[in-house]
């Protein structure tokens, strides 16, 4: 019983720390990557996964209590909306005239909608 609790605690702590680490990495990506589209990759993916991971950590810790349910809700909601936000920003950026970085090698979208 106590082993199980400890194990779950450990797992939840693992998720929790992983989440933090990912968020941190995502934000470094935000800093380092060359243009807005690439930065979006960093924040959307690892940011979201980081947050989701922290939420999973919580759920593992408290179970399906009110708090757990809420954590699940937050996680799912992030999963649902983060890509949309990224998509909206990227699209707006492109149509707003933000060019791709110099390393970029192709732009199908720009060819069609210019």
């Amino acid at each position: 019983m106590s082993t199980l609790t400890t194990a779950i605690d450990a797992i939840s702590m693992f998720f929790f720390l992983i989440g933090i680490a990912f968020v941190f990495l995502g934000m470094i990506g935000l800093l380092r990557l060359p243009d807005v589209y690439n930065r979006l990759h960093a924040t959307t993916k690892i940011g979201t996964v980081g947050a989701f991971s922290v939420m999973i950590g919580i759920v593992l810790k408290v179970g399906l209590s009110a708090m757990g349910l809420k954590a699940i809700t937050v996680g799912l909601f992030l999963l649902l909306t983060a890509p949309i936000a990224a998509h909206m920003i990227a699209r707006a950026a492109h149509r707003h005239g933000v060019g791709l970085c110099d390393e970029s090698i192709m732009d199908d979208y720009g060819k069609t909608y210019k």
Binding site: F77, L80, T81, H87, M88, R91
Partner: protein, 138 residues
Amino acid sequence: MTTLITKTVTKICIPLIILFSISLLLAGHNNPGGGFIGGVMFASVISLTYVVFGLKNVKSFFNPEWDKWFAFGLLLASMTAFAAIPFNHNFFRSAVELVHLPMFGEIELVSAALFDTGVYFVVIGSLLYIFKTLGEEK
């Protein structure tokens, strides 16, 4: 016009967020939340529909008179507070009643919740009134 993808996700989000706003309103007395926060949530989601579907399109099927909403809210809030006077109490004297309902068990009915509902309507009405008025400007 926003994209198909955004519209689809927004459709999913609307009832979810509105439910959340109601939940914030109802839970406010015991948890973070309350009329203002719930109301802003509601106003935000309507504003989201305006953004995503376009104000004109939304107005074609969903166009309440927001000014009446906030007027009603203020009326509700003040009348709730006023209701204490006929009971020989001072204005704003609150009442807490425990009611036993068959399936729901012990339910705490608080007069303040009604007041908070008034707040909720005022926030929704006034914010959306401002948004709509500004949005209708060419």
